[in-house]
């Protein structure tokens, strides 16, 4: 091993990016979901998360298959349609040391799974929740989902006559403290957001427009690559400074906002003409309402509120993951049983 080949690039754990890959994708060539997969691989590698600490969770759909395509060394659970939030909640209850990454589709989260999705957000379960949003049911061949825009056209030519559910606005309404939107065709932004997500404690909702090249990439679709590219509006330019790499750069006064994450990392937002404050929830809601109305695809960090207690904190759990507690810790002794029995005589 002492020959002089250029060493593979490694992250702070000494792992190459290959260690963060998964099995071969079985999705359609060009599917937005695969693009997101690549950014997940990159972000987890760059951050240097131990793969074995990650739990990948999903429901059912093309999107929900993607956990098989990244982080091969992480446990994965492809559960049932629309119910990943519950499974993920249970997994985090069992092992608070896990980094949970939930991948869902718009059908999975906004149609069948809407209730569970909302309740996960409301509980603030620590999980990076990514919706690979293509406005259709890919796996069942292109029916409208609940995020399909009003008036958008199906491949067969039908017009959608129901309003879209905006999962970001809904997440805000449900009390989520980290709400962002991105686009599968914007790798730089997406990687930064995912890394910021890893640094957040609590639920992160990442709504990523992810075109379905087979069923929803045509003229008239509002979730196609061309449409998204044309209508994407950046809230800000976002970059991520990890806690282990705090380099100071000078920025023009007022041109940059830094958000400090709980692990010491920083999310750096460089202003666009918008001058947007991602800590003002009412403004965030109003802006979503307006941009939805105007058919802009607004991307970036929509809302952030660091430092809030997550669900596990409110349960006052012990430090050791519950799954690792031995019998001595979980079986009260003979005397406890005796005490209970006494009270029942």
């Amino acid at each position: 091993m002492s020959t002089t080949t250029t060493p593979p690039r490694t992250n702070r754990l000494g792992l190459g990016i290959g260690e963060y890959k998964g099995g071969d994708s079985t999705l359609c060539a060009g599917c937005g979901h695969d693009a997101i997969t690549s950014q997940l691989i990159r972000a987890f590698w760059e951050y240097g998360v131990e793969p074995q600490r990650v739990a990948k969770l999903s429901g059912i759909g093309c999107s929900s298959k993607t956990p098989a395509y990244f982080l091969r060394q992480s446990h994965g659970f492809n559960s049932v349609h629309g119910r990943m939030p519950a499974v993920g909640t249970g997994a985090m209850l069992a092992n608070r040391d896990l980094v949970a990454v939930g991948i869902s589709g718009d059908g999975d989260s906004a149609s069948i799974g809407l209730g569970q999705f909302c309740h996960l957000l409301r509980r603030n379960v620590p999980m990076i929740y990514i919706i690979e949003n293509n406005g259709v049911y890919g796996l069942t061949k292109g029916q409208f989902s609940a995020t399909a825009d009003y008036g958008s056209k199906s491949k067969g030519g039908a017009l959608n006559d129901l309003p879209a559910i905006d999962v970001c606005a809904l997440a805000l309404e449900m009390g989520c403290n980290f709400v962002a939107r991105s686009f599968a065709g914007d790798p730089k932004q997406l990687v930064a957001l995912i890394k910021a997500a890893i640094s957040h404690r609590g639920t992160v909702l990442l709504d990523v427009v992810s075109p379905c090249v087979t069923f929803n990439n045509h003229e008239g679709s509002t979730k196609s690559y061309p449409f998204a590219k044309q209508h994407e509006e950046l809230l800000h330019e976002i970059s991520y400074v990890p806690f282990f790499e705090q380099i100071e750069v000078d920025y023009e006064e007022g041109s940059v906002v830094d958000v400090e994450m709980h692990d010491g990392s920083r999310v750096r937002l460089r202003k666009t003409e918008r001058d947007y404050d991602p800590t003002d929830k009412a403004a965030a809601l109003a802006m979503l309402m307006r941009t939805n109305h105007d058919e802009e695809l607004l991307t970036g960090l929509i809302y952030i509120n660091e430092g809030q207690p997550d669900f596990l904190a409110s349960l006052d759990l012990c430090e050791t993951p519950l799954a690792r507690l031995g019998s001595e810790a979980v079986v009260p002794g003979e005397s406890a049983l005796h005490e209970v029995m006494e009270s029942l005589t």
Binding site: N78, V80, V87, M92, L93, A94, C318, L322
Partner: protein
């Protein structure tokens, strides 16, 4: 003879109903409205009989609403320990004007009515014994607070009945102290009410009925508990770490009890919880969380009743197929649909055994007593992890929410069994790992937990087709091999599931098979059958699905086997027919009780005798 109720017969034998004494063998029914606070009074009455050393049970028959509707609390005391429901009431305490008439008319002749004087019930019939008491008026003696007065009126009847039956005052007082533990004022007021009730009885009532308590020694050291609390204790001592639930009668009190116990006994040195109890948004979420937790290595559980079981159906199929351990308590009530939420039935058996689409088959543990609610619930957690599959614990409203007497529970001597879980060290040693391989020939594979720090640890869990290494597969051979292994695993479960309890009788040709709460009624019926009809029986009480070899052997020893169930469709019998060889199927008969009231011995006896008569020509 067959026209006459045998209990009446007993009275007759002892001399015509009212003169000779009936000692330690009676049922008291208190008819009130719910939300009126009579529950404490009833418990005090029950417990004071218990403290007299007499075996006793208490059953609450309540409506599916919160306040204002008729409720009946029945206390059965029986010197031989037969404390199942009995249809006949000996002492009626009629406090509810809305039902008093019907309640009185329903009595057998010779029985007793204690009632609020103003209800004027004594005109209703002449063949029962009436003891009017001016409860409302007496209550004014204790307090002027009208709300309190209503509550205390209840305690008055405890005094009256206690005095009538010869219950020792000190035992009533002790029961009151227990009931209102720590609340000094309440203890005093209630004792005062008791005293007034006693005094009134002594001064104004001439006892002419035969029913009496006499001290015996059959309850020393025993406890009184409901099945849900017992299940909760079983779960706690099984080391449950994640419990998720959604409220539903009659299962809610299981998780509520659990929460109470866990708060007291399950914190670490820093005072932090060694458990998580989560009220989910519904049953789909509850079972989904329990599955996620079981997957990630927690001992997890959820508890529900019929409608929740139906909702959990899809998820349970996932857990079966992906082989995830968890325990699901089904405290059954009357179905279908919302049915009668506050009545009891055993009608989820087929659902539990077969839950979910596709070929599925589940392990079901069926406690029949509160002691088993403790010990078999505890065991269910071991089985779930050993077998890596959802394990149901099927109890019912009667067992779960009513008060039963038992010996104090014992911790098992065997340590917890956590099943085949590979640690990082195990993996390092083995050098290979395939999640669904049948390494040991028992069809139970090995698993690893998320977070295990070894490069071989990770695998991908899914409810879709997979091969022995947990890789996605649509291959016919992978599918068939996996399904066949799951079937073999179910056979492995046969040797691990709690065996039936058999009461054999070498001279009996008739066999009885029952399960769950029917147990006490069956026991009593066997005595009736032998005493009254000379029919001797063998009795096997099932305690689990899948069936074990004992069932086959039992049937072989019988000419005919009556399967006694509390449902319309003979569900357990159906499962037996699905499995048993035809010679055994031919012996099966059914006794079915499904009115929503707990089954009683007399019903079984009557049905069985009728069937036997037909059978014998």
């Amino acid at each position: 003879m067959s026209q006459q109720s045998p209990d009446a017969a007993v009275l007759d034998e002892e001399g015509g109903g009212s003169s000779a004494s009936v000692i330690n063998d009676f049922s008291i029914q208190v008819a009130t409205v719910n939300g009126s606070g009579s529950q404490s009074a009833n418990l005090v009455l029950m417990r004071s009989i218990f403290r007299m050393g007499i075996p006793v049970s208490g059953k609450n028959l309540f409506p599916s609403n919160i306040a204002g509707l008729p409720t009946w609390f029945t206390i059965r005391a029986n010197k031989d320990g037969w404390t199942a429901r009995r249809k006949e009431i000996d002492i009626l305490v009629a406090m509810n004007p809305a039902t008093a008439r019907e309640d009185v008319l329903d009595l057998e002749p010779g029985r007793v009515v204690v009632y609020e004087d103003r209800l004027n019930l004594s005109e209703l019939r002449s063949d029962v014994i009436f003891y009017p008491v001016p409860f409302a008026k007496l209550a004014t003696e204790i307090t002027t607070d009208s709300r309190l007065r209503k509550l205390l009126a209840n305690m008055l009847y405890v005094g009256v009945v206690g005095e009538l039956m010869g219950i020792e005052t000190q035992e009533i007082d002790a029961a009151i102290r227990k009931q209102f533990k720590g609340k000094k004022k309440a203890v005093e007021l209630n004792m005062q009410a008791i005293a007034i009730g006693i005094r009134y009885t002594r001064e104004h009532i001439r006892k002419i009925d035969p029913f009496r308590c006499e001290r015996m020694d059959k309850t020393a050291g025993k406890i009184i508990i409901d099945g849900n609390a017992a299940c909760a204790l079983g779960a706690m001592f099984a080391g449950v770490t994640v419990a998720t639930w959604y409220p539903i009668t009659p299962s809610s009190s299981l998780c509520e009890s659990l929460e109470g116990y866990m708060k007291r006994y399950r914190h670490d040195q820093d005072g932090k919880a060694t458990y998580a109890i989560v009220q989910a948004e519904d049953e789909l979420a509850a079972v989904g969380m329990a599955i996620g937790a079981g997957w990630a290595g927690a001992r997890s559980m959820t508890a529900t009743s019929g409608p929740g079981i139906s909702l959990m159906s899809e998820f349970v199929g996932l857990a079966y197929y992906a082989e995830i351990p968890l325990v699901i308590f089904d405290i059954t009530r009357v179905g279908p649909s919302t049915g009668l939420p506050t009545r009891t039935q055993q009608s989820d058996i087929l659902s539990l055994a077969l839950l979910s689409h596709g070929d599925t088959r589940h392990v079901v543990i069926i406690p029949g007593t509160v002691e088993e609610c403790f010990s078999l619930s505890l065991e269910a957690f071991n089985l779930a992890e050993e077998l890596q599959t959802p394990v149901f614990v099927m109890s019912d409203l009667d067992l779960g929410m009513n008060n039963w007497m038992a010996d104090p529970f014992q911790l098992p001597t065997r340590p917890l069994r956590r099943g085949k879980v590979l640690s990082a060290e195990d993996l390092a040693e083995a050098g290979e790992f395939g999640r669904y391989r049948d390494v040991d020939g028992d069809a139970i594979p090995y698993r690893t937990l998320p977070g295990t720090d070894h490069p071989l640890a990770a695998y991908f869990t899914r409810g879709s087709g997979h091969d022995a290494d947990a890789k996605y597969s649509e291959r016919a051979d992978d599918y068939v091999n996996n399904m066949n292994r799951l079937k073999r695993k179910y056979d492995t479960a046969r040797s691990m599931a709690p065996a039936p309890v058999v009461h054999d009788d070498p001279d009996a040709r008739v066999g009885l098979v029952a399960f769950g709460t029917s147990d006490v009624a069956v026991g009593e019926s066997r005595v009736q059958l032998e005493r009254e009809y000379g029919v001797r029986t063998r009795y096997l009480r099932l305690r689990a699905l899948p069936f074990t070899a004992e069932l086959d052997a039992f049937i072989d020893r019988c000419d005919r086997v009556y399967v006694i169930e509390q449902n319309r469709d003979a569900q357990m019998s159906m499962l037996m027919k699905m499995e048993l060889p035809v010679e055994r199927i031919g012996k099966l008969r059914s006794v079915l009780h499904y009115s929503g009231l707990p089954i009683d011995a007399r019903f079984i006896t009557d049905e069985l005798i009728a069937a036997e008569r037909k059978e014998n020509g």
